[in-house]
């Protein structure tokens, strides 16, 4: 599995998470405030936000080049 494919996969999964967040927010908007459903949906929204944040930590540098022992890009 090459780097470009993995990067694309991360991007796809993140898009799916964003879509799911939007749908959950929509469903949450329809639920009466304070209801069990609203509370449950809020909890799921919070979980998805954590998932999204975790995925956001992944960055790809697909450029050719070298990094020194301090982890800095040296070209």
């Amino acid at each position: 599995m090459n780097a470009n494919f993995t990067a694309a996969l991360v991007c796809d999964v993140r898009t799916s998470v964003h879509d799911a967040i939007e749908r959950l927010q929509h469903a949450r908007g329809q639920a009466p405030n304070g209801s069990d459903l609203a509370i449950a949906l809020d909890a799921k929204l919070k979980e998805l936000s954590v998932v999204d944040s975790d995925l956001g930590m992944i960055e790809f540098d697909l450029d050719e080049g070298e990094y020194n022992e301090e982890g800095e890009y040296v070209g």
Partner: protein, 146 residues
């Protein structure tokens, strides 16, 4: 392939100077580098009044490779931002994706069940997420021979 996992953490200005090894190990573990056994922190010369650099070396317990990470701590009047770059192996990223997809699948299942009656159209979309996540999970696990 150079793949990086980035972690950011907010720390209060008075604390960042006292950032200790345990906190760094915790942070490294949080981004999935729990095979890192030791972290040495050496403050470098700050090249700006509001910016201090820390060098961090992580030693992996498998093989002879040494993973080095760079930490930068940026200070501002209200908070400091700790920025860390960790070299990650492709398998680490795929494992993280598997974990994410499993969580997404579980959330989609629960969400679909919750709104089945009140919003059947959205519930059906979540069922679709569930199926997609399951399919991609199967392919990834096959790739990693899990």
């Amino acid at each position: 392939m150079k793949t990086f996992v980035k972690a950011e953490m907010q720390v209060e200005p008075p604390k960042w100077g006292d950032f200790d090894r345990l906190e760094l190990l915790t942070l490294l573990a949080e981004v999935g580098r729990n095979e890192i056994l030791e972290v040495d922190v050496e403050p470098d010369d700050a090249d700006a009044e509001d910016c201090a650099y820390y060098r961090v070396q992580g030693v992996r317990d498998s093989g002879n490779s040494t993973t080095r990470t760079a930490l930068k701590i940026f200070d501002n009047p209200s908070s400091a931002l700790l920025y860390m770059i960790v070299r990650a192996r492709p398998d680490d990223i795929l494992n993280k994706l598997i974990d994410t997809l499993e969580r997404l699948q579980n959330i989609a299942t629960t969400a679909a069940n919750l709104i089945e009656d009140s919003a059947p159209h959205e519930a059906a979309l979540f069922r679709g997420d569930e199926v997609t996540a399951k399919r991609v999970l199967g392919a990834l696990k096959k790739e990693l021979s899990l």
